[in-house]
């Protein structure tokens, strides 16, 4: 999705403003919001990629004007409604008014240590890797209207396979409920000038983590 979340290379956002002695959360609701989102993810209500797509589905003006955890809260409201887990009138009332939907599992206190470790997204390979380390590749010029992890700034550009990271769940597929469709994952390295033109910093190199479906061989 060519949304405003895909920010690499955009102009006009100004300086980075680090905060001295920044707290983990700036208000209690931020921690609750993070935990609520993670708890609903942990019980299998949606995958991490469906969750990211839920953030990207916020309107651009909303995305840019809401704080980080503000976006998480809006995403959670939308997703529990979309999946029939709660209804709009319940969120407005602040209480359950309708029967609950059965869920496979619920997150208990004993499960918390597990949620502090990221899940594994590696999967057994169904075919050998299509590219080798050192091979020149070009990213495809694709613009899917749904979730993708190929950023706009890195589309249609030539780079080099620097590393093969194994076979991983393909976010473009899981985000639309089409299954894990595991793909080989590569670190692809670009020269700054390939991405940003002749005016780019000559000392700059940028890499992305690219799924095989994003790549095509470069003709020699």
């Amino acid at each position: 999705m060519d949304g405003v979340h895909d920010m690499g290379g955009m102009h006009g956002f100004g300086k980075v403003e680090p905060e001295e002695n920044e707290p983990v959360f700036h208000a209690a609701w931020e921690g609750r919001c993070l935990a609520l989102n993670r708890a609903m993810g942990a019980i299998g209500a949606w995958t991490i990629d469906e969750g990211r797509a839920g953030i990207e589905a916020l309107r651009p003006d909303v995305y840019l004007s809401r704080s980080y955890y503000g976006k998480w809260a809006l995403r959670l409201e939308n997703m529990v409604i979309e999946r029939g887990l709660a209804e709009t009138d319940e969120l407005a009332a602040g209480h359950a008014l309708h029967a609950a939907k059965p869920l496979k599992r619920k997150l208990g206190i004993a499960d918390i240590p597990r949620t502090l470790t990221r899940g594994s997204f590696g999967r057994p390979a169904e075919a050998p890797a299509g590219f080798t380390v050192g091979e020149r590749v070009r990213t495809k010029n694709i613009h899917p209207p749904t979730h993708t992890r190929l950023p706009r700034y890195a589309r249609g550009h030539a780079g080099v396979i620097e590393a093969i990271r194994g076979c991983h769940v393909f976010p473009d597929s899981t985000a639309i409920g089409a299954g894990e469709n595991p793909q080989w994952l590569y670190t692809v390295l670009f020269e700054g000038r390939e991405l940003w033109g002749e005016a780019a910093d000559p000392t700059l190199k940028v890499s992305i983590e690219a799924f095989e479906a994003y790549l095509e061989p470069v003709e020699r």
């Binding site: 920010m7 680090p18 609520l36 993670r38 708890a39 602040g94 619920k106 206190i109 470790t117 940028v206």
Partner: protein, 209 residues
């Protein structure tokens, strides 16, 4: 936990009260429906505030500085090497350690969202998730470093790692001069969060001596 400086800004204050109410409504509805246990949320929040944080990453970097064999293992397979340390929280798969050298400076970003090696660095700071950082880190990294007060030699190669998949990166900065013979614990005090993201350098030996 609300902080006074936020209260100074009207739009922050209005989002604060609106969001307090909306998040409370979400939690109440989801808990009443039996989807959640609020006590489990309390435990999770406490863990995010106390158990995970940059102290974990600092210990990893300090050990890499003190133990060349560990550094080799870390750069080869950071997930495996970090697990061997037995941190409180077990690190997940696909952690990658990238090493700075005299001619190469690494930085990490997630231009698409907020991917961050939180098992070793904790939750990301607001600036890491902000539009200014995400937009410029890949096109103008020296300008971004200048926002942090950091200026690198003109011939230093800058390498930006955009975290576009489930791989996560941690920068292993160069060990500061004048720290020969230091214990891992003392070395860890030099390792800032930002130097493991690549937007800073470790503290100088004189800062903690």
């Amino acid at each position: 936990m609300a902080h006074d400086h936020d209260e100074d800004h009207h739009e922050h204050r209005s989002e604060l009260s609106e969001m307090q109410l909306r998040v409370r409504a979400l939690e109440t509805v989801l808990a009443e429906k039996g989807y959640l246990d609020p006590a489990a949320l309390d435990v999770m929040i406490e863990a995010f505030e106390t158990k995970i944080g940059p102290h974990n990453g600092a210990g990893v970097v300090a050990k890499a500085w003190a133990d060349p064999e560990f550094k080799r293992a870390l750069v080869e397979d950071a997930t495996k090497a970090v697990r061997s340390l037995g941190l409180i929280n077990r690190v997940g798969d696909h952690l990658i350690a990238v090493e700075n050298t005299p001619g190469l400076h690494n930085t990490i970003v997630c231009t698409l969202c907020s991917c961050y090696p939180w098992e070793v660095l904790g939750l990301p700071p607001v600036w890491y998730k902000s539009a200014p950082y995400r937009s410029r880190a890949v096109s103008d990294p020296r300008g971004v470093l200048a926002d942090f007060g950091l200026s690198l030699p003109a011939d230093t190669q800058i390498r930006v790692w955009d975290s576009t998949a489930e791989t996560r990166f941690i920068v292993v900065p160069m060990r500061p001069a004048g720290t020969e013979g230091w214990s891992e614990e003392k070395l860890a005090a030099l390792v800032t969060r930002d130097c493991m993201i690549g937007t800073g350098l470790p503290k100088n030996a004189a800062d903690v001596a």
